[in-house]
């Protein structure tokens, strides 16, 4: 077990890579009641075309199967895992993203037992035709719930505008039609391929004794048999740099329109320190340009083009990336035009000043330090960073290292009109 210290923020993490390939990280947090643990596989909605374990041909699986599998792991032959956790005073949950599926619990007592339950339920699948069929009704309702959610439709509409071939444009839960093709055998195929410990990471944060917790995890893992570590082969079609569509308008049952402007990212093969610096630089740029204290925000607000739903975000993972900015508005076309103009003009002249950069960096550092008060944030983000060969605790030094030249270079490269796209939700009729 190695101990990694982060003196600047006074945290220490214990790490070990187990024999079966599982990465384990433990971060003791004194003074907290809660222990929070996540058990995550590097497997999400985009991994729909791959070579199944010990097979020699690529397999394309139905949209939404990673999320379906997440649901089904909670059901066992003798009942539901939620019951087990709540008997032990814990609350449990799970989520599936584009690139990850995470299982988690939080509890203030019985931590050892809960950790055992977490590892065992994720590592002992039980799928039957009957329970798979039953789940289709439940997930069908989850899908229609999102269908009625205009913000979700707007978000996915924008991603669909950008990506022509990449599966990031497929809704994480799939469609009622696509999940109808899911069978128990397909679930086992996905499970066997992506739930090998060498594709997973276990993170524990809370008032724990790191040595004891590590011993417990090792003992639990040693009891289970796994095949040798093998590389997982995923297949992705080639994705052009250009967006698929410049604009999409979705009429929906809403009172106020919504508008998002997106930029499709270019350097999506990055990982490690390079990726960290790149994404933090883009975050700084957007915060400077569109944060609440920016000139742009004040202008948009005083013109009545935006309200407090206005926001911006940048996401990047291996193979895809996008920035988006916008919110609710009564003038979706005007807002789209103004936002595009603001983005383009940011590249010209002296919009971005050294003073502005320093101020934004301070804000980002403050936000980060506050975020690491949260065990959930640490566990989830640390895992995401680790899967991209980055370290969460490098955020502050990396932010500090970003110069005005870095910002200008990234802006020049990132903000180009041919990768802009617009998605709007407007009232029906």
């Amino acid at each position: 077990m190695e101990k990694i210290e982060f003196n600047q923020i006074q945290e220490e993490i214990y790490h070990e890579k187990l024999e079966n390939g599982l990465e384990v990280f433990i971060l003791p947090k004194k003074g907290f009641n809660k222990t929070y643990a996540t058990f995550t596989t590097k497997y999400g909605s985009i991994d729909n075309h791959f070579m199944p374990l010990e097979k020699s041909e690529f397999l394309k699986v139905p949209d939404g199967i990673a999320h379906f599998l997440e649901h089904k792991l909670f059901e066992k032959e003798d009942g539901d895992v939620f019951q087990q956790f709540s008997k032990q005073g814990a609350s449990a949950n799970a989520f599936t993203s584009f690139t990850r599926t995470a299982y988690l619990f939080s509890s203030t007592s019985n931590v050892e037992q809960n950790l055992e339950t977490l590892m065992d339920f994720v590592q002992e699948p039980y799928f039957s035709e009957k329970t798979v069929e039953k789940e289709k009704g439940i997930i069908g309702q989850e899908i229609t719930m999102y269908d009625d959610n205009p913000d979700w439709r707007l978000y996915f509409g924008l991603i669909q505008n950008m990506y022509q071939n990449h599966p990031v444009s497929i809704d994480i839960a799939g469609t009622v039609e696509s999940i109808s093709h899911i069978t128990k055998d397909l679930l086992y195929e996905c499970y066997g391929t992506f739930y090998h410990p060498s594709n997973m990471l276990l993170f524990v944060v809370g008032p724990v004794d790191a040595t004891k917790v590590m011993e417990q995890i090792k003992e639990n893992q040693a009891k289970k048999n796994y095949s040798k570590v093998q590389e997982i082969k995923r297949q992705f079609e080639n994705e052009p740099l250009e967006v698929a569509k410049k604009k999409q308008v979705l009429p929906m049952n809403v009172q106020t329109s919504k508008c998002l402007v997106g930029i499709k990212a270019k350097h999506v093969e990055q990982s490690g320190a390079e990726m960290l610096k790149h994404e933090l630089t883009i975050n700084i740029i957007f915060d400077f340009l569109f944060g609440k204290s920016s000139e742009n925000y004040q202008e948009l607000y005083s013109k009545g083009l935006i309200d407090d739903t206005f926001s911006f975000d940048y996401s990047q993972e291996k193979g895809f990336g996008f920035a988006m900015v916008g919110g609710d508005t009564n003038e979706p076309d005007t807002l789209a035009d103004v936002l595009k103009k603001m983005l383009v003009s940011a590249k010209q002249g002296e919009v971005f000043t050294l003073e502005g950069l320093e101020r934004t960096k301070k804000k980002k550092i403050g936000t980060f330090l506050r975020a690491i008060n949260s065990p959930e944030y640490i566990a989830n983000q640390f895992t995401r960073y680790a899967f991209n060969e980055m370290n969460l605790f490098d955020v502050v030094p990396t932010l500090e290292s970003i110069s005005l030249d870095d910002v200008k270079a990234v802006m020049d490269d990132f903000i180009t009109e041919d990768r802009f796209t617009v998605c709007q939700v407007v009232p029906k009729k």
Partner: protein, 271 residues
């Protein structure tokens, strides 16, 4: 989802101030001017009850000094509003509203007749946990896991106003079935059809929630502020220890006090 919940409260609490939407309504917002907004601000500052909480890595004396220097406020006697005012209905109100939605939104409102700080408030919390508050609850198991009708189905307490809401997203055609399962589960609660295990499970989870809540500054403030809103002085230790001593009998008595008030359904087609 948000819309249907707002609509339920509007219908259920028609004659109560609780039905007012926090953001007001369009017509009245137009009447706000610089002058009347500023007047209202001055009045609020002079008359309203203000409570300041500071949580964190701070020095008590220093903060007290700052605060007494910065906030020089006059003595006031804030008026109190009785939130409990209840308009009982003769019979259950059933409302269906048609809109262009893919999923039907079912929202049901109950009057619990129990309020934060009451002796039987703790039993009400356990009741809610067994009935619909968690993923081990009766509603989750019977509506979602057994009948496969919904993705979300849960109950939630509004503890100062004495209300309980059940909410679920279902297929439009499953309305009757969902409502009847939800009613059956309520009957089961009244009849005491729940086990010691369900009780201890629920107690453990609620205690866990409290302990997790005070890990955050915001959560600590929220818990303290409940006392202000209710005009009570309940210590954190009491909130937790009273959960432990709730008996099955007390839960059944609370269940018996709960009255169904309004069933609201936002649906696609005419039924």
């Amino acid at each position: 989802m948000r819309y249907s919940n707002v609509r339920l409260i509007q219908e259920m609490c028609k004659d109560e101030t609780y039905a007012l939407y926090v953001h007001g309504n369009l017509e009245e917002v137009d009447a706000i001017t610089e002058q009347n907004l500023y007047d209202y601000y001055k009045r609020a500052l002079a008359e309203d009850e203000l409570d300041l909480y500071v949580v964190g890595d701070v020095d008590n004396d220093e903060v007290t000094k700052f605060v007494s220097h910065l906030f020089q406020l006059e003595e006031r006697k804030p008026s109190t509003i009785d939130r409990r005012t209840i308009h009982k209905k003769e019979e259950v109100q059933e409302i269906k509203e048609v809109q262009d939605v893919k999923q039907g939104k079912l929202n049901i409102g109950y009057r619990t007749n129990v309020y934060f700080g009451d002796e039987d408030y703790y039993a009400l919390q356990i009741f809610n946990g067994i009935y619909g508050g968690f993923s081990h609850s009766k509603l989750f198991i019977n509506v979602r896991e057994k009948a496969s009708l919904a993705y979300y189905v849960a109950s939630r307490l509004e503890s100062h106003k004495g209300l309980m809401f059940v909410m679920s997203g279902i297929d439009n055609k499953n309305y009757e079935q969902a409502v009847s399962i939800i009613k059956e589960q309520m009957k089961a609660m009244v009849a005491g059809d729940f086990t010691e295990e369900e009780m201890s499970q629920t107690k453990a989870v609620i205690k866990n929630q409290y302990l997790e809540t005070i890990d955050t500054a915001r959560g600590t403030v929220e818990i303290m502020y409940h006392n202000i809103v209710a005009g009570k002085k309940i210590s954190f230790e009491d909130l937790i220890s009273k959960i432990d001593i709730v008996t099955k009998d007390e839960i059944m008595k609370v269940a018996d006090k709960i009255e169904l008030d309004t069933i609201y359904f936002l649906t696609e087609e005419e039924q």
